[in-house]
């Protein structure tokens, strides 16, 4: 069921986008070629509409203490302007959603949730806010979110007419944000993203989104910037080894299984929802998330079973995401496998629509950009 249209919908229609339903939103899956869009992000820049993402404002005198309690990571220690990747856990320690949280001021934060988890995230935050002097407000319908990703993202934004930022972009560090404005309309610019490249995410009032999109596109025209859809967003994040909720993360997955222990603040003194559950952790023998790579061109896709060897018929894992990597030219996948198979270098066998193919467990990420 598709209820929601992006504030940029008409822009995408005019650009000839092909659309897909994503978590109830009608979003561009590609404009021309998902491979060309993928390569543009790796070599120049891509312009993404990700307005389906949920924006939740948490503000009040106890906002820092509240988020330390409600989320698995420490947010009270974040600096103003800093962004942190965090998790919203169930009592038993499994994942309700993965989030990016920006500290806006001493007493206010922007929590960005996945579109498909918007209401679950808002509900959990509101429930957990009882007893705290804090207000949780779902502002998702008020904001558009535009991502500019790729090695030339900074140059594109620096040349965008009407865009001003408080911290110059060449001084803005990774996972830091700055306020700014576009044609007088306030916005937030984060040096964040989901592609494995340098890039920025711009939060702006929905009614100003189309004008800003057009201005960024115009500035990027001579720099190789292209509009980019969700198809390449998925292959880009897969190459970067980033989890996607509903594939690598779910209500059945503990952070430790997905390699996200580092996100959970177990070393702090404070309690948070899900702490006891994560301390106990997943059962012995619970499957672990690993990267897989193969030769050839045949992709292992979500749901395909993984076996310890070609002669084995009892599944010892399952593919959660997979594609022929556009950058690397060979198949890559994320999979949950038995702990005994989780060591890099281990050979496993994947059933690809009735044919067995050999994959090797590989350290993540598959792709890492060269830092300047």
């Amino acid at each position: 069921m598709t209820d929601h249209l992006s504030p940029l919908h008409h822009t995408h229609v005019a650009a000839g986008a092909t659309f897909t339903d994503f978590a109830g939103w009608q979003m561009p899956v590609r404009y021309t070629s998902d491979l060309a869009e993928h390569h543009a992000v790796r070599t120049a820049a891509g312009l993404f509409d990700i307005s389906h993402m949920a924006e939740i404002i948490v503000e009040g005198p106890e906002a820092p203490a509240f988020l330390d309690y409600a989320l698995a990571g420490l947010l009270s220690t974040a600096m103003i302007g800093q962004a942190k990747y965090s998790l919203l856990l169930t009592e038993r320690g499994t994942v309700i959603d993965d989030l990016v949280v920006y500290r806006l001021t001493h007493h206010s934060y922007l929590v960005v949730a996945n579109a498909g988890n918007r209401f679950a995230a808002v509900r959990a935050l509101v429930e957990r806010a009882v007893g705290f002097d804090v207000a949780v407000t779902d502002r998702s319908d008020d904001y558009a979110l535009i991502a500019v990703q790729g090695p030339r993202a900074q140059a594109v934004l620096e040349q965008t007419t009407g865009l001003t930022v408080e911290i110059p972009l060449d001084e803005l560090k990774y996972y830091r944000s700055t306020s700014g404005s576009f044609s007088g309309v306030p916005l937030l610019v984060g040096r964040t993203g989901y592609t494995g490249e340098d890039g920025f995410e711009l939060y702006i009032a929905a009614e100003s989104a189309a004008a800003m999109w057009a201005a960024v596109a115009l500035a990027g025209a001579g720099l190789g910037l292209v509009p980019a859809g969700l198809a390449c967003r998925d292959t880009l994040r897969l190459e970067a080894g980033m989890p996607l909720y509903g594939h690598e993360l779910s209500l059945d997955v503990f952070p430790a299984q997905a390699g996200l222990d580092r996100v959970v603040a177990l070393t702090s003194q404070d309690s948070f929802v899900g702490r006891e559950g994560t301390e106990v952790g997943p059962a012995d023998g619970a499957w672990r998330l690993v990267g897989l790579a193969a030769e050839g061109r045949r992709a292992a896709r979500a749901g395909y079973p993984v076996f310890a060897s070609v002669s084995e018929n009892k599944p010892a894992g399952i593919i959660t995401s997979g594609a022929l990597s556009p950058t690397l030219g060979h198949p890559i996948a994320l999979a949950f496998v038995e702990p005994s198979l989780a060591e890099p270098g281990t050979e496993v066998s994947v059933d690809i629509r009735g044919k067995r193919l050999s994959f090797a467990v590989t350290a993540l990420p598959f792709y890492r950009r060269e830092k300047k």
Partner: protein, 124 residues
């Protein structure tokens, strides 16, 4: 964009260029657009038998897998090696250089659509 009028079509988004008891088979521009960029094509071997409706090949994009279905009983005469080496031909020229197989037909395929009927099916 309307599809070529000299071809016939199936409701599974394949096209056929029938010449006597042989036919050249590919997928339509609509099918190629739905798949996105094709990155891998698996085609049958020459002389493989085919049974109407059975899967004889696969067309993979980054996002999904499409199946090539046999349009009738018969056998495979030729697979397009150019497409195996350059799968993007399926997107760039689906009705021409992106053809997939040439087949021998034991009988005339059933339920084929004219170009106008196929355009109506995909909403052109």
């Amino acid at each position: 964009m309307p599809v070529p009028e000299n071809l016939t079509y199936t409701s599974e988004h394949e096209w056929l260029l029938i010449d006597g008891d042989t036919a050249t088979v590919g997928i339509t521009n609509y099918a190629a657009d739905q798949l996105g960029d094709v990155v891998f094509v698996e085609l049958p071997e020459v002389d493989d038998a085919m049974i109407a409706g059975a899967v004889v090949g696969e067309i993979e994009s980054t996002k999904s897998v499409g199946e090539l279905l046999a349009p009738a009983n018969g056998s495979i005469l030729e697979s397009n090696r150019a497409v195996a080496e350059s799968p993007e031909l399926v997107n760039s020229d689906p009705f021409g250089a992106g053809w997939l197989v040439r087949v021998r037909l034991d009988a005339a395929p059933e339920g084929l659509l004219s170009a106008a009927e196929y355009d109506a099916l995909v909403g052109e």
